[in-house]
Subunit: 153 residues, 2 copies
DNA sequence: TATGAAAGTTTTAAATA
DNA sequence: TATTTAAAACTTTCATA
């Protein structure tokens, strides 16, 4: 999966990460090239899997999703079947935006977006009724200082 | 910021969150409408701030950004000036993808994407040299179980 | 890499339900 | 008031130089 990118590729990626609605001409002008080479580079990077997709970003507040929790999970269960069910539950729940398996003391971290604290509790009750969990700590976000999808390229 | 959305709006948002490269015709067909009404609804939702932007999502692994850390921060400092400098440092560092101020015991959580553990240490040393921090716990992700930008609409 | 032409898409306007 | 039709402006895509 190691792809070689040059400076021009990186500039194009920076533009597309910031705003994918720009026309090829506009991007070409900004990166100091022209339409066809930029188009070919974008196609190559899509084929190589560097650019995975293009999507719309919505404002969670505008949709009434005003609460964001980070959830730290410790479990005593490490059976394959338990894990399979747990991962399935996470993947199926749309309020779970991120889920990672961790090294060390804490086993999993989740990022969960919901309408309010009450909706979080509903989510939490549903989750622990589906799979046995040893210990859960919920961290409530008071302020989103930064949230970007831009990777440093 | 409370915007009223109907069923058709929600269907359009779901499509755009999944894939913003689809043509208007395609989206219109999927949601059971036609080009102009869909176009008008999208314009209205952009103006209302529900749709904030359209961007390209890149694959971090393909870019060699193979390590992801969640960083829990406790601080003893709650001076306005300290906080201003801390937030500025976070916003300026491109490896910090997310930063939240939390309620409770832990003051901040960060999500940090870097090449490897060594690059994380470099980031960490730079950060603590910029601002005094009382206690830091880094949680290393072993596996990204789920990572979506799709909000439930 | 550049040019340019064909195909397709978005955007605006006018007509219609 | 919202939808359909239609047409102009712009973009993407691709062949060829």
């Amino acid at each position: 999966m190691a792809v070689r990118l040059d400076d021009m590729d990186r500039k194009i990626l920076a533009e597309l990460q910031a705003d994918a609605e720009q026309s090829l001409d506009e991007i070409a002008r900004k990166v100091g090239s022209s339409k066809t080479p930029v188009w070919n580079r974008i196609r190559r990077m899509k084929e190589a899997g560097v650019i995975t997709r293009q999507i719309a970003i919505l404002d969670p507040e505008a949709l009434g999703l005003e609460a964001c929790f980070f959830v730290l999970i410790r479990t005593s269960e490490h059976e394959a079947d338990w894990q399979r069910r747990f991962l399935k539950a996470l993947r199926e729940r749309p309020e779970v935006l991120e889920a990672h398996r961790l090294a060390g003391d804490i086993d999993y971290i989740l990022k969960v977006r919901v309408k309010n604290a009450r909706a979080y509790d509903t989510f939490y009750q549903a989750l622990i009724s589906e799979v046995r969990i040893y210990n859960v700590t919920a961290l409530l976000s008071m302020e989103e200082i930064k949230a970007t999808t831009m990777l440093p390229v």
